[in-house]
């Protein structure tokens, strides 16, 4: 909402605050001021000039050569405007000065004649679109006087943000009330220059009123509580006087013509949207307020757009067809134009919800719909209409024909809300007595009607009837008036809550720490992806290239790896924790899981002069998978090599993670060529994705085992293992078949090549034997090793290497 400082000042006579102070004030009362500007801010160098003589340019038919008095003696000016005439006043910019937008006006010769400045059009000054001619101004001026001051453009416009509950603040009156409540005096409506004293009569009925051949009927009282129409005949459409244009500009609105300006003026002043119909264009001189129904499919609004109608949209119709979308925008066919003489002025109250759904359906938000959606003062309607009539009579002439038609199927009754002082203290934590509370509420128009011990009965005026409906709403007003900054802020005691810290957050913390310690950077990517396959779809995406919610996080992370590749990074180690979405098998809410995804490429450790560079290998991946699976699943899931074809990972590099119930909860491998857009110099990209358990499992409590009392004996055993036999099988067999003396098996070497027959490898194990109750003898250990060697040969065909 753009607020004119001058307008406010006119409405609050005692207002002593500067524009900056008004801004600070409104901000602290809940209507923050986002910016301030002055319409004349860039016009500081423009002065008022009088054209002394205007004659034809000797060398050009379409140019005039003028002598202009701009205060510092007369100067000659070449002017291209057809409307320049001697004796008139115009904005003038002397040579050497700049126009808005930074255009420097230079002294120049045009077709042989010297021009020492420029007479300006409205558009050149940023004051309107008119540029057919220069802007003639009327009044009592002095040559050379600053244009901004002469025209009252030194107003300040405040850009005030209002919250959606405070429709009453969408007007200067509403802002003035907030300031008046601060003790700057009561808000009042300013006088309208040249307006006659009005004494309008009102012809009122609940459903239909007809006066002098004009008829208004509300067919849908549910969506239109009240409709007032005033008939003004004999108006002369033209530009508004300067005071009106100034006022509208000060409030950030563009003047159009005197009648339309009058409706805008009253809307900006009182918050009541109004609409002027050309009465002669209303068929049957009738207004019928009804839904579009199935009869009308489309309607052309006054912006020239043809719009598709929904049967439930509320329309203003004449005897036959719609003439306006109620509360949103008028129609092209009933618009006021230069030939209009008779006007029907509408002042109506439409249902907020209906306006909202119509506005959304048409995708058309206007100043009117914005206000109706947020609530218009039901008690201010007659005053608003009277003011609009007065403005029109003052600026466009004409006369009011008959009483105002006032169709009111649902009259407004104000609400009384009880406020218990104890409840106020309960919520606010400070003691406020009845007098203090009354002192806060009444300047806001919230009248205390009666008072019982500890209870105030408060009548809510129409303009606050939308947001003040409950006791707590009044308490908020008390807090606001008391001043949020006045409340103490002493930290008191509290009871601990009943909600345990969510274990999944803790698990995420642990995983983050572990990965960061291993040199990974945490990435964050949005959950939207282009991949369609099996993914949850967003019904109304704004970004149509990524309309799906990801089920797997890896593609997003790999795109980030590629992003780093394209910036020349060879060593990239990223991980992310995020949500995976899946379509629920039985419909309904999508299923969500938290996933950990890791991708890495490049060198195992930072390059160092003492060792050759070595890229990450599958063993780094395997080690990482084992670590994060152990952390996340606390031993109830494990990773194993996978031979199943993977859509993402290269064959022979895959692991799959399976939980205790046999469900696959993760996978890892080398990202297959073609699945990541890697440059030729890039090292392999390794990746894993793991579902975190839900609920999270508690880590097992460690159990202490007494340390051994007797020494261990170690034996190394080098085996020739055929490719058909896995190291895991060999290890398992050793563990199973060697009796209780074998404490630990460690694989410490793996070798292929010279000295080892093809199709076999040399695998070396260190076996550690120990007895709990004695020192082992060599003989016992030898026997155990022999036993193992025998078993290996017998069951796996594996023989010791000699």
């Amino acid at each position: 909402m753009n607020v004119s400082y001058r307008w406010l000042k006119d409405m609050v006579p005692g207002l002593e605050l500067s524009p900056e102070e008004v801004a600070a004030h409104l901000t602290l009362r809940g209507a923050p001021v986002e910016g301030m500007h002055s319409p004349g801010a860039e016009l500081g160098e423009v002065v008022v000039g009088r054209v002394v003589t205007a004659g034809r340019h000797p060398n050009a038919d379409r140019l005039s050569l003028c002598i202009v008095d701009a205060g510092k003696g007369v100067v000659s000016v070449v002017c291209g405007a057809p409307n320049v005439k001697a004796g008139s006043w115009y904005p003038f910019i002397p040579a050497g000065c700049t126009l808005p937008g930074g255009v420097l006006i230079k002294k120049s010769k045009i077709r042989g004649e010297v021009s020492e400045g420029m007479l300006c059009s409205a558009r050149e000054l940023g004051l309107g679109t008119e540029h057919a001619g220069i802007l003639e101004i009327f009044g009592d001026f002095t040559p050379g006087e600053p244009f901004v001051e002469a025209m009252g453009l030194d107003d300040v416009t405040l850009d005030v943000e209002t919250t959606s509950n405070r429709g009453d603040l969408l007007s200067h009156l509403g802002m003035a009330r907030e300031l008046a409540a601060e003790g700057s005096g009561a808000a009042r409506l300013p006088e309208i220059p040249g307006a006659p004293t009005l004494d309008l009569g009102f012809a009122e009925a609940p459903d239909e009123v007809a006066v002098g051949g004009v008829r208004i009927r509300i067919q849908d009282p549910e969506l239109c509580a009240r409709y007032l129409g005033a008939v003004i005949r004999g108006v002369k459409i033209g530009p508004s006087p300067a005071w009106m244009e100034e006022r509208l500009r000060g409030a950030g609105s563009r003047p159009i013509n005197n009648v339309v300006d009058a409706t805008n003026y009253v809307m900006l002043e009182m918050g009541q949207p109004l609409h002027a119909f050309d009465l002669s264009k209303l068929g049957g001189s009738a207004v019928v307020v009804r839904r579009a129904g199935t009869g009308e499919k489309t309607f052309t609004t006054l912006d020239g757009e043809e719009r598709a109608l929904d049967p439930d949209m509320l329309m203003i119709c004449d005897a036959e067809r719609p003439v306006a979308v109620a509360g949103v925008m008028g129609g092209k066919d009933s618009e006021v134009d230069d030939a209009t003489t008779d006007v029907l002025l509408e002042c109506a109250l439409f249902e907020a919800k209906s306006i909202r759904s119509t506005r959304k359906g048409l995708n058309l938000s206007t100043d009117a719909s914005y206000r109706f959606e947020r609530g218009v003062d039901p008690e201010g309607m007659r005053t608003a209409l009277e003011r609009a009539v007065a403005v029109i009579l003052a600026t466009a002439g004409g006369r009011v024909d008959g009483p105002v038609l006032d169709v009111c199927p649902r009259p407004f009754t104000s609400r009384v809300v009880e406020l218990r002082l104890a409840r106020a203290r309960h919520l606010l934590g400070v003691e406020l007595d009845a007098a203090a509370v009354r002192g806060y509420l009444e300047p806001l128009g919230l009248q205390v009607e009666s008072e019982a011990p500890g209870v105030l009965r408060v009548r809510v005026p129409g303009y606050r009837s939308y947001d003040v409906t409950r006791e707590v709403d009044l308490i908020e007003e008390v807090a606001r008036a008391h001043g949020y900054d006045v409340f103490p802020a002493d930290l008191g005691g509290y009871r601990p809550g009943t909600v345990p810290d969510h274990p999944l957050f803790r698990l995420e913390d642990e995983l983050r720490s572990a990965l960061v310690a291993r040199g990974f950077f945490e990435a964050q990517t949005p959950a939207f992806v282009p991949e369609a396959e099996g993914n949850v779809r967003v019904a109304n995406p704004l970004n149509t290239r990524e309309p799906f919610m990801r089920r797997t996080l890896l593609p997003s992370l790999l795109r980030r790896v590629v992003h780093n590749f394209t910036r020349g990074a060879r060593d990239v180690r990223l991980f992310e924790l995020g949500t995976s979405f899946r379509v629920a098998p039985e419909g309904g809410q999508p299923l969500e899981e938290t996933h950990l995804v890791v991708a890495f490429t490049g060198r195992r450790e930072p390059p160092h002069w003492s060792v050759p560079d070595a890229p990450f290998t599958v063993w780094d991946l395997k080690g990482l998978v084992e670590e994060v699976v152990a952390l996340a699943w606390r031993g109830s899931a494990s990773a194993a090599p996978s031979v199943e074809a993977s859509p993402l990972f290269a064959p022979g590099t895959c692991f799959s993670v399976v939980d205790g119930q046999g469900r696959v909860v993760g996978g890892a491998g080398r990202v297959a060529d073609g699945k990541v857009d890697a440059p030729v110099w890039a090292d392999p990209v390794w990746a894993l994705e793991l579902t975190l358990p839900d609920p999270v499992m508690a880590a097992a409590t460690p159990v202490h085992h007494p340390l051994p009392l007797y020494p261990a004996v170690e034996r190394d055993l080098a085996l020739l293992v055929g490719d058909a036999v896995t190291a895991a099988a060999v290890t398992a067999l050793m563990r199973e078949r060697s009796g209780e003396l074998l404490e630990q098996v460690t694989l410490f070497d793996h070798y292929r090549g010279e000295g080892v027959p093809p199709g076999k490898r040399s695998v070396a194990f260190r076996l550690r034997f120990r007895a709990a109750d004695r020192t082992l003898k060599d003989k016992e250990v030898d026997r155990a090793v022999q036993g193992i060697v025998g078993r290996l040969k017998e069951e796996l065909g594996v023989e010791p290497r000699r």
Binding site: L28, R29, G30, P32, T163, S164, E373, R374, L428, V430, V472, D473, E476, A479, R480, Y484, D485, F487, P488, A489, D490, L491, G492, Y494, R495, P496, T498, V499, P500, D501, L504, F505, R512, V516, R518, F521, E522, A523, Q524, P526, R537, V538, A539, L542, N543, H563, N564, R567, A569, R573, L574, G578, F581, G588, Q589, E592, E605, H608, W609, S610
Partner: protein
């Protein structure tokens, strides 16, 4: 007058020699020490060794043994010191100014750092963390939070809906308020960090997915004073000493009275001078609306509380001087490395 026993002399000589060797600053000094103690002709230890033959026979073996031991020990020390003093810049064989060998450095995402820092402060103030689903329903996202779908407040963050059914992507973390109160009895004292989604395009200050942190406190006797005190305390701890905090009336459908929380930070320039920022909006908050408590099945006459919400992404921008929210989604490792621990 009794002379010092040769064994005693040897031991004191050993101490002296070792001391001298360890203090030798270069090879030249070390060579001097060698000559002083072990020089063939006048070396002090050599002299004693040579004199063993002059001792009474019963003393010879013990003194001879000791003299040999000391000689060996000193020789060892000389050799070791020599090794130490050799090599580049006299650092003992290696140029220790060469770079060391360490593991890769990693780091948390800057937004996570902010979330962690916020969580740390609230943990100290007695809060725990709660979670809720990111795909939610109109009831939890709007209606239960006193936001009728046909009220303009429901538009303020344009919502993304999901295909099929009425599921939507939560437009704020506030649904966690209701979900937490449904499962737990008061007192409630939680924060709820998480992702939220809005129908926005990507620009410097908007992304369709971003993080929020919700907070909720409900108990008997929680007042506007507690609300102000807790959140002002948080802001001061987060932004640092000297931070000014301001509460300004505002509107959220699920709180009443509602407030925006603004801070004025003290920022230290690189040259050490300080300046105070203008007011910066950092949090939306308020006393929990009684309708919300009623919707959760709490007795709103008995229980009161406050709620708040903030955007760690926006806060990270302010705190780290990042001027484009999209930078957080680029995940350029050169950017991430700036936040490595």
């Amino acid at each position: 007058m009794s002379e010092v026993h040769p064994t005693e002399a040897l031991r004191s000589l050993e101490r002296e020699a070792l001391e001298a060797i360890s203090h030798a600053a270069d090879l030249h000094a070390l060579e001097e020490a060698r000559i002083t103690y072990l020089g063939r002709k006048d070396g002090r230890i050599s002299v004693i060794l040579r004199s063993v033959g002059a001792l009474p026979p019963e003393e010879r073996p013990a003194v001879g043994q000791e003299a040999n031991r000391v000689k060996e020990r000193v020789t060892e020390a000389l050799d070791s010191r020599e090794r130490d003093l050799a090599g580049p810049a006299g650092m003992g064989g290696e140029d220790l100014t060469l770079p060391g060998r360490g593991p890769w450095k990693g780091g948390l995402h800057p937004v996570t750092r902010v979330v962690d820092e916020i969580w740390g402060i609230f943990r100290d103030l007695g809060f725990t963390r709660a979670r809720g689903p990111e795909a939610d329903t109109e009831w939890y996202n709007f209606v239960a939070l006193n936001t009728p779908l046909d009220h303009p407040a429901a538009d303020e963050n344009d919502t993304l809906y999901l295909d099929g059914g009425r599921a939507l992507l939560r437009s704020h973390t506030s649904p966690v308020q209701m979900r937490t109160m449904e499962k737990h009895a008061p007192p409630i004292r939680i924060i709820a960090p998480g992702w939220v989604y809005r129908r926005d395009t990507y620009d410097a200050t908007h992304t369709p997915a971003f993080q929020q942190i919700e907070g909720l406190v409900v108990d008997e006797g929680v007042t506007f004073v507690d609300f102000k005190a807790t959140l002002a305390e948080f802001q001061r701890r987060f932004w640092g000493p000297g931070t000014e905090v301001r509460f300004r009336p505002s509107f959220f459908p699920f709180t009443e009275p509602s407030a925006e929380v603004d801070v004025k930070r003290i920022i230290q320039r690189t040259d050490g001078t300080r300046f105070q920022t203008d007011w910066i909006e950092v949090m939306g908050a308020g006393m929990v609306d009684p309708n919300v408590l009623d919707n959760a099945g709490y007795d709103s006459e008995r229980y009161t509380g406050f709620a708040f919400g903030m955007g760690p992404g926006r806060i990270a921008m302010l705190k780290y001087g990042v001027d484009d929210l999209r930078t957080f989604f680029d995940n350029d490792i050169r950017f991430l490395a700036q936040f490595a621990r």
